[in-house]
Symmetry: C2
């Protein structure tokens, strides 16, 4: 695998090659820039890309003495363009912030920069990561389709081998959905586990930084860099699937809308078969009724919290603001304080209850999305399956591996109790091994060397 | 009162004079700059002051056509130096951020700037508003004493007539305490009621923007500008005190440490007498035992949430970071995830219970601080009485009016259920009338024209 250009390797693989002197950060940067040049006219993942800045950053990293290099030295990271970066514009896909340079790194960017990551560029987002209108980015597997959103460019860029790691954010389903649509791993950590300063705020109780990668090992590395730790470290080596029990939870959203898609039903059944074949125990579990309707309550809460966060833009440049955000500021959906407080309190009361349920299993398995990525890039898709877990602050990982009849990727989500992110990643590493090539034959190929496995478990 | 220089007027008074053509923003700016020149060598409230910028902003505001002027047109606002401003440095009292210019206004600054406020300068804060080591600012009533913290400069500047309004923040008691120490009104609104983006983050569940003013009317104006609204507007004119019932709540902190100071006991008794004399009903109310120990739990929670927010500074410039913040990042106090989650869940469960208790009264009356401002500026004082209300997200207002034997101001706090901020302000406007000159004779004078009433109810 190491004969492939670096952009086809995972971050973990690349970092090891840099450490052993077989690769320089400049070579890694060049491989990614070549991929960018080849594919950007089709995928449009990037809101900002400055080749000279990338190469000069790579040179700076190469000049760091070995003893002073951080754990991400050589990893290539894309940053969603509503996350502040000190050396690039942060435009939020808003004309109000055209060429805006905040001069400081957001907490997650600062951490990864200090750890030696090569910050590659800014990826397209929906406006302020707060609307459902798609930006120019296109799906890594089919440019006729949405990459999902709001972390559209980050999902597409990692899926298309244009960077190894990327930051998204999730307020409802904006990390997990593009993860599923672009066939990559996506971690929405426990709410609060990673500092959020420097990310544009929509909802203070929901917004969460999300992480994209093409392997669980890469997510584990990022979690380590961010000091995401459980109270009890998971066993090493990971617990074998033959000792694991999984709760299959459809949630009240399974029958919502037009019901489950054929690809979701297929992935659901096949994923079970694969876990069972690996010796795992699988149980269908129905959540108590009090967990119903978290989805619509989450959307109402988001709108109510959004009232305050776009007020300056509303006062100064209302004409340049998405109608959805104007609706938030004007409280057009007429959410009362009573309703807002009732949702706060109900969600808070459900959190320990979900922890208790999830704690009975090695992980909950639940849909990431209702189905494959939608055709067209105007709308970013349906986040209904993600709201429950986001609102209840538990860690979620999208595991890719399945495909629709049209060859588009579809993933499933693993969930654990709050602050068991590291254990969940450990379980995910084993689950990914049996799911990752589940639909290898069916999955559409993105243009890449034959030897490049799209995801490595 | 209008013959006084503008810095001795409240914002509401000044705004009216500008509106009627009797005063220009430039004149207002000049009055405040004169006060600044006179007093800054003693009080040191400001971390950044640029006379030319102030005068040029005033000129810009004077040039705005009358029809386009906002509701704060002519008000003079100080901004705590951990809140981003697009036209001034934001240094967080940290050498890491020396001359740092974030190029964008924090949400509250953007709102007030758009509403026509004259942003006067940046006020001193403890490091990142997250430590208890005092900055250079000194108490408005006695430069030998601390103005409190972390909103040290904001409290001192408003108390010393150097600006009419100021932003603080409160994570435990950092708005209410300087309010009490500097003899001014201080509102910590309901958590989430005002957008927080652009404020340095310490604790995502505790951090709240705080507002300083020298009258309740000014706080009401700010609340209006920020679109802080209750579900039900309070009666106009406000409910008379003769129909009001107040719960006097000492909390478990009353006997903590060395117990209540003589000035607190005195203010407590006198405030009751004054309310009773005005016809109000006053009841001593003890909170159920489950409300005990919120103070130490809040401090633990703050430390656990602080782990993630100073990670970039820790990685890059640990040597320049306050030891307390290093302790947070390294989790030196060994807070487990279990403990963190238990505190989250316990606080969340208490919130609706406190709302229900507070909802039985027109307001809760409770101490703002254990006593007068400490001598010396090294430590910012004791926040023990504020933690409960901050953690439970309810609105609090410090009402000044009382004094210690040494003539230092001491205030009391009014509390209401979450999102009843506007009603609380309405009650506060009536309470302030009977408390405001309670200890007029005893209160030390700050150097000011005789006609200037320090606070106007």
């Amino acid at each position: 695998m190491s004969s492939l250009p670096a952009n086809y390797l995972t971050a973990t693989e690349t970092i090891a090659l840099v450490r052993s002197g077989k690769l320089t950060v400049t070579q890694i940067a060049e491989a990614h820039l070549a991929r960018y040049d080849e594919r950007d006219p089709t995928i449009h993942a990037w809101a900002y890309m400055d080749r000279e800045r990338v190469l000069s950053e790579a040179k700076r990293l190469d000049a760091i003495p070995e003893a002073e290099r951080g754990p991400l030295h050589g990893a290539v990271l894309g940053v969603k363009d509503m996350i502040n970066t000190k050396d690039m514009p942060t435009e939020h896909n808003s004309p109000i912030y055209k060429d805006h340079r905040p001069n400081v790194d957001a907490v997650p960017v600062g951490v990864c920069r200090a750890a030696g990551a090569l910050i590659f560029g800014k990826t397209h987002t929906t406006q302020f990561a707060a609307t459902t209108t798609g930006p120019p980015a296109r799906n890594a597997f089919d440019p006729e389709r949405t990459p999902g959103g709001s972390s559209s460019g980050s999902g597409a860029a990692v899926g298309d081998w244009q960077c190894q790691l990327a930051f998204g954010t999730q307020t409802v389903g904006s990390t997990v959905r593009p993860g599923s649509y672009n066939g990559i791993f996506a971690l929405k950590p426990t709410w609060g586990a990673i500092g959020r300063e420097g990310l544009k705020v929509l909802s203070v109780t929901l917004d969460t930084l999300g992480l994209y990668a093409r392997s669980v090992a890469d997510l584990q590395l990022l979690a380590e860099v961010f000091q995401v730790v459980d109270d009890t470290p998971p066993p090493s080596p990971p617990k074998p699937l033959s000792s694991c029990t999984f709760a299959y939870v459809k949630t009240d959203q399974w029958q919502a809308g037009s019901g489950p898609s054929p690809e979701l039903e297929r992935a659901w059944a096949k994923s079970k078969e694969l876990l069972i074949a690996a010796g795992a125990t699988v149980k269908d579990v129905e959540l108590p009724a009090e967990f119903n309707d978290v989805m619509p309550r989450t959307v109402r809460l988001m709108a109510s919290e959004g009232r305050v966060n776009f007020l300056p833009e509303y006062m100064v440049s209302k004409d340049k603001l998405d109608p959805l955000l104007i609706s938030h500021v004007e409280n057009q959906t007429k959410i009362s304080r009573r309703e807002q407080l009732d949702i706060y309190d109900a969600m808070a009361a459900l959190r320990p209850k979900l922890d208790a349920i999830a704690g009975q299993y090695d992980a909950i398995v639940t849909p990431s999305v209702p189905g494959e990525a939608w055709v067209g890039i105007e709308r970013t898709g349906d986040a209904r399956f993600c709201a429950l877990w986001t609102s209840l602050h538990v860690p979620c990982i999208n595991i890719p591996g399945f495909a629709s009849e049209s060859g588009m990727p579809i993933g499933l989500t693993l969930v654990a109790p709050r602050y068991e992110d590291v254990r969940l990643l450990s379980v995910a590493s084993e689950v990914a091994k049996v799911w990752i090539n589940a639909d290898e034959g069916l999955l559409r190929k993105t243009p890449a060397p034959e030897e490049a496995s799209h995801n490595s478990a």
